[in-house]
């Protein structure tokens, strides 16, 4: 499929182009179109969720930034934004610290009950959010833990599997002879860790942290159950907005969040390349 051979028959040619530009093109369109559509819609001068005639004629009057202004001046949205940035970094910190340590432990050659431990540690990613959130809601009410910290703990535990997976992935390619070399030159295990191992796994740790951050930043079910109007986050505000009175400000927020995703994606890609370069693999 990679390239059409010169001897291809007409039928093969037709199929080749239909597949590549017809079928795959349509699926790519399906994947990306919803995300692209809301970007221009967020600049709609009207409070509609569809393109107005003026927008289609590219008339500047059809466009405005009023939904963005609303986002930056509305106290509800500002509170949500502030809460999101208060909760996510704390959850990321906890998840990354615990997760990195555990990943290093798990990649040792002899770990008793490795499979069972791994299954438990990854389970927050697998168990449906509604069940995790319900369980936490029941349990945290029982032990009287509410508000900010209950959400931080919930988000931290939901983010740890991502940290473990990414850090373990960088450790898999880790050359053990490097630590042995360091040891043979007289470095203590701690010095070896900070001078040799740490610089090599740092890209994995950072991408794990990014995953944990986005998990918390995007999470809504746990916030819905554990939080209140005081601890509402951006997804909380979007969710209630979508469920009750849908306002076009949501599209402005969505566009901003797409920008954040693109930024994160770029950082991750750069990290991946750096990590591969450090480990002596040519970037692909």
């Amino acid at each position: 499929m990679s390239a059409l051979p010169p001897y291809a028959s007409t039928g093969q040619r037709i199929w080749h182009y239909t597949f590549r530009y017809g079928i795959c093109g349509a699926i790519f369109f399906y994947l990306i179109m919803p995300i692209l559509v809301i970007i221009p819609l967020s600049f709609n001068a009207q409070d509609f969720f569809t393109f107005t005639e003026k927008m289609l004629k590219l008339d500047p009057e059809g466009y405005s930034t009023k939904h963005y202004k609303d986002f930056f001046t509305n106290s509800d949205w500002q509170l949500a934004l502030k809460n999101s940035f208060r909760i996510a970094p704390m959850a990321t910190l906890l998840a990354t610290a615990f997760g990195t340590l555990a990943a290093i432990g798990l990649s040792q050659p002899h770990v008793p009950f490795r499979r069972a431990i791994m299954a438990i540690l990854i389970s927050p990613m697998i168990v449906p959010l509604i069940i995790s959130a319900a369980g936490m809601y029941f349990f945290y009410t029982r032990i009287n833990l509410q508000g900010y910290w209950s959400i931080v703990l919930a988000h931290a535990v939901l983010g740890t599997p991502f940290v473990i997976i990414t850090v373990t992935a960088t450790l898999v390619g880790f050359d053990k002879s490097l630590t042995r070399a360091a040891a043979s030159l007289g470095a203590t295990p701690i010095r070896t860790f900070f001078k040799v191992q740490m610089p090599l796994i740092i890209p994995g740790v950072v991408s794990g942290a990014l995953f944990a951050f986005i998990t918390s930043f995007d999470e809504v079910v746990a916030v819905l159950f554990l939080g209140s109007a005081k601890t509402k986050t951006l997804p909380w505000q979007m969710f209630t907005g979508l469920r009750e009175q849908i306002s076009p400000t949501i599209l402005a927020v969505a566009t901003l969040m797409i920008a954040i995703s693109i930024m994160l994606l770029t950082v991750l890609e750069l990290l991946r390349r750096r990590s591969e370069r450090l480990r002596g693999i040519t970037p692909t």
């Binding site: 499929m1 990679s2 093969q12 597949f19 079928i23 795959c24 790519f28 994947l31 990306i32 919803p34 995300i35 559509v37 809301i38 819609l41 509609f48 969720f49 569809t50 615990f98 555990a102 432990g105 798990l106 040792q108 002899h110 770990v111 791994m118 990854i122 697998i126 168990v127 449906p128 959010l129 509604i130 069940i131 995790s132 319900a134 369980g135 809601y137 029941f138 931290a156 535990v157 997976i165 373990t168 995953f211 930043f217 809504v220 819905l224 159950f225 997804p235 979007m238 969710f239 979508l242 849908i246 949501i250 599209l251 969505a254 969040m257 797409i258 995703s261 994160l264 994606l265 692909t284």
Partner: protein, 524 residues
């Protein structure tokens, strides 16, 4: 021999090695321990708590301690209402419950299993204060004046037979103490008071059950007060005026004369019950055993089936749409495929709510898709398609959201398939279709399996997206769980439904671990 080898400090080598291995294991565990503890406390124990809540029923025996005990000897399968003793303990329990204002909560709990019983409790709560409990009290006082004095009860409670031989009286006594503390404050002095008439009724019923031996112990007691209290009481109590608690309750509310209400109470007396699980599968326990609920109340089995079918449909859609894309990405030159990969990863990285709101905007009746269709003349302005708030909306949106989870594992499997396999097949005369069907496709099955399980697991537990685009017809079991947690407050049923869903997911998780291995999960 190996065992003769020693290290430089004189230790046998095998011992030294074993020690090093042990130390290594310990170090690994020490590194893992913080996270393991963290996950156990913040994640596993909440889930264990939920499992426990799905069978927990302590509210009934705690709110009605006397009634649940006396009901044990009632024949729930018979056609007779419980006896006077049960109604007497009910009066006693209700007196305390309405004082603590917990009788309505109990009513709502019982209402899940017996619709209508909540109002019985609510209405009786107000009237139970007026209940006349003087019958037995008068009898005791007539038999001996000492029963009006506080020391009679103090003496009784010091007796060796208390509380074993006086189960009803001891419950009534502690109910009365709690009542007084709630009514008059925690520091109320009870040493100068005798309990209410309800406690005397409880005592009366306990006395009826004392054996000859126990009576002899009381009447021949070394304690003078005890002898005075009980001498002649046995004969006198036979002449006590009859209690009429039952009649009073029946006057209060005719619900107390309904056998079904009593059977429900009897069935829900134990602290651990399975009723929520039967409710989760549209069944209930009655006097005829476990039976189906009436046709119009059966919703959960249908909802479970719908969740599974729709998840299967979404998984199938993901295979159909994900396969060509993964194939294209795996066969294109790296530079181009990396570029196209962004189109897969961008939706993957975009907030779930952003994608859901995008679809909500696109699929609305006045939304972009319908507008384009009307403009193209495919549908008339009055024939706009209903694409949202139904199953269509859920399937379109969820397929979009879960598609990357199918493409990524498929892609990594297809990357490893050498192109020479297909070339070899073709060189031996296979057509394009045959070489795909017989050679390429079988090699991709592990990827399809991995992607399908992942998509299916994620799909059956989805809540946010069906809630926003599913309307009433396109929602999953998760939405029902959320409804019971936040709206109907039937937490037990929510926990039972959640536990069933959890078991399903864990089975799939186990299968995924066996087939793919959780170590091999990759993120982009």
């Amino acid at each position: 021999m190996a065992s003769d080898l020693t290290t430089h400090d004189g230790q046998p080598l095998h011992k030294s090695l074993a020690k090093a291995l042990r130390r290594e294991k310990l170090r690994a565990l020490v590194l893992i321990a913080p996270l393991l503890l963290f996950v156990l406390i913040t994640f596993v124990s909440p889930i264990a708590d939920m499992l426990f809540r799905s069978v927990e029923n302590s509210i009934v025996p705690k709110t009605l301690p006397g009634t649940t005990r006396t009901l044990q000897s009632w024949d729930a399968l018979g056609e007779e209402l419980p006896g006077e003793e049960v109604y007497a303990s009910l009066a006693d329990d209700m007196m305390l419950a309405q004082e603590l204002k917990i009788h309505t909560r109990l009513g709502s709990r019982l209402n899940y299993d017996q619709p209508g019983i909540a109002s019985v409790f609510r209405k009786s709560g107000r009237q139970v204060k007026k209940i006349d409990s003087s019958a037995h009290l008068d009898g005791f006082i007539q038999s001996n004046e000492i029963w009006t004095k506080p020391e009679s009860w103090a003496n009784l409670r010091k007796n060796g037979l208390w509380p074993g031989a006086f189960p009803a009286s001891s419950t009534a006594w502690s109910n009365w103490v709690r009542f007084m503390k709630s009514d008059e404050g925690d520091d109320v002095d009870l040493s100068e008071k005798t309990p209410s008439g309800l406690a005397y009724s409880a005592l009366y019923f306990d006395l009826q059950k004392l054996s000859d031996e126990q009576w002899r112990q009381l009447t021949d007691s070394d304690n003078e007060t005890t002898r005075a209290m009980f001498n002649g009481l046995r004969e006198a109590s036979a002449q006590f005026p009859a209690a009429n608690y039952k009649e009073q309750f029946l006057d209060m509310h005719d619900g107390w004369g309904k056998l079904d209400n009593w059977r429900t109470l009897h069935r829900l007396s134990p602290p651990i019950v399975d009723s929520y699980y039967w409710a989760s599968v549209d069944r209930e326990r009655t006097s005829d055993g476990v039976v189906h609920k009436p046709e119009n109340e059966r919703i959960y089995v249908k909802l479970f089936v719908r969740t599974i079918l729709m998840s299967a449909l979404i998984t199938l859609m993901c295979i159909l749409l994900g396969y060509p894309i993964a194939y294209l990405l795996a066969t294109l030159p790296t530079r181009t495929s990396n570029l196209l990969m962004i189109l897969v990863l961008l939706p993957f990285w975009t907030s779930l709510l952003v994608r859901t709101s995008a679809w909500k905007v696109l699929l609305q009746q006045q939304g972009v898709i319908n507008n384009i269709l009307v403009w193209l003349g495919v549908v008339g302005d009055d024939g706009r398609l209903a694409l949202i708030n139904n199953m269509t909306g859920t399937v379109i949106t969820m397929t979009h959201i879960l598609l990357p989870f199918m493409i990524l594992p498929l892609f990594s499997v297809m990357k490893t398939i050498s192109p020479s396999y297909v070339r070899a097949a073709k060189s031996m005369g296979a057509s394009d279709w045959t070489s795909f069907r017989r050679v390429y496709f079988p090699n991709t099955i592990p990827g399809i399996g991995a992607g399908s399980i992942l998509v299916f697991i994620l799909s059956i537990g989805y809540y946010i997206t069906p809630e926003l685009v599913g309307g009433t017809k396109g929602v999953f079991i998760s939405n029902r769980i959320a409804y019971h947690i936040s709206s109907s407050l039937n937490w037990g049923l929510a926990a039972a439904l959640g536990s069933i869903l959890l078991v399903a997911v864990l089975i799939l998780y186990w299968a995924y671990d066996r087939i793919v291995g959780i170590d091999n999960v990759k993120l982009g």
